[in-house]
Symmetry: C2
Subunit: 266 residues, 2 copies
């Protein structure tokens, strides 16, 4: 794993043991698909990062430097995943952040995941807590997802769907959910929990899709269903609980449209 670590504008030798990312998950991250030496959706990732940083009042590294370092990491990589973590850095007293802390940021390069044609999905018992202050952004407080992922492994599934406390479906552990109700695509709102995925945003802009509240029954009654994220693209769901779905032409059409926009997700 190739990794570069920075404090503010300077390369750093390692993670400070007093980093607030380690102490409190006081940070943000982006997981980006590298394709032919670049990141096709880099602008969208940086936009979401900026939204998260504004919400948490975390200072971001200077954008020019960040883009230069990202570009350097991607050189010569045909297919890979680049992960960026930005933390609030060190300092402050306990939970209280210092007024001016230099962000810590890390770039790490990982192998692209193996392609999957269709996936089996389980219901997770771990719920997503209702917290509008943290919903939508990709922050580093992810214990709910870690607990849910253990359930997915125990169920021998590929992914798991997580609900909020009232029982509405929010997302998979590391992907957003879209279902087709016969008229068009629906995806759960992410204003109280969940993450506004970059691939989800692209689909909301380019497909006949809208946000709504989705009960479990609606999901099970859907005519087509897929998960999506910015690393794997669109993943058709074959099975959820006892329900199975046949291959869907609607999903195949969307996959083609997505591959035109981002060939790394073809």
């Amino acid at each position: 794993m190739e990794t570069r670590i920075f404090r503010g504008g300077r390369r750093a030798g390692g993670i400070d043991p007093g980093d607030r990312g380690l102490a409190y998950g006081d940070g943000l991250f982006e997981t980006m698909r590298v394709h032919r030496g670049g990141i096709p959706w880099l602008d969208a990732h940086l936009l979401r990062l900026q939204r998260g940083a504004a919400r948490l009042a975390i200072e971001l590294p200077e954008e020019g430097l960040l883009r230069t370092e990202i570009a350097t990491m991607c050189i010569g990589r045909d297919a890979a995943v680049l992960k960026l973590i930005v933390t609030r850095g060190t300092g402050g007293r306990g939970y209280a952040p210092s007024a001016h802390s230099e962000p810590t940021w890390l770039l790490s390069l990982h192998d692209a995941p193996l392609p999957m044609q269709e996936i089996d999905v389980a219901w997770c018992k771990t719920t997503l807590a209702d917290q509008p202050m943290l919903a939508g952004i990709k922050h580093c407080n992810r214990l709910e997802q870690v607990l849910a992922r253990r359930e997915v492994a125990a169920a021998n599934a590929d992914e798991g769907l997580m609900c909020d406390a009232p029982g509405n479906v929010v997302s998979a552990t590391s992907a957003n959910l879209f279902i087709h109700d016969g008229d068009g695509w629906l995806t759960p709102e992410v204003d109280r929990s969940g993450v506004a995925g970059v691939c989800r945003d692209w689909l909301l802009r380019h497909a006949p899709a809208r946000e709504t509240v989705l009960g479990r029954d609606t999901v099970l009654r859907s005519s087509a269903i897929f998960l999506c994220n910015a690393v794997r693209g669109i993943l058709p769901v074959r099975r959820l609980d006892a329900r199975e779905w046949p291959a869907s032409t609607e999903i195949r059409d969307l996959q083609r449209q997505l591959a035109d926009a981002h060939p790394g997700l073809a």
Copy 2:
């Protein structure tokens, strides 16, 4: 800041950039008061750590080694704070933890805080989300507290009280709350959010105190009110909102009782 870092049973040179603590806040911590070369409440801290580790399925370092290293760090320290962080370590695929990951653990020694006689407290707008899976334990997903602490600083207060979404009071950002209703001491339940503080536990066992649901009005009507944690002990509240409280003999009695049990908190 003196710091020692370990992976499993071995001393490590630094934090692995792929550590799950940094990526997801996938860990637990304890903040312990050192007094005359030892930690009077060490057993209680380790018990809470074990409860948290069981909940999150995080493997803990071997207890004998942990206690030895803690004892070594405390030698010659008359008054200090020792912080322990235990993370799930590295490994796994994304949120999915690996089945056998060696924990990362850090011990860091800090100055004891300056004594405070009385404190001014503000209400925080940041709420604590309802999440029974994570409530009570001292995990490293603390963005809610970080956001609330920024409000405390803006209000020029010493601490802030946080409520749950329905508006019941849960705790301060880094201390538990006790109020006297004329009959006895009351403290909010922490089974849906908040942390079961070590000092809170001591008080529940040794004072005429019980857990309940506390509305804001009940807090404002109380005859005496204090915050407490294992680093500062009992902190009488002088002011909350427009309400002020005179010095309380009930609190002074509790402080004396606590000082007998843990002289570092005198």
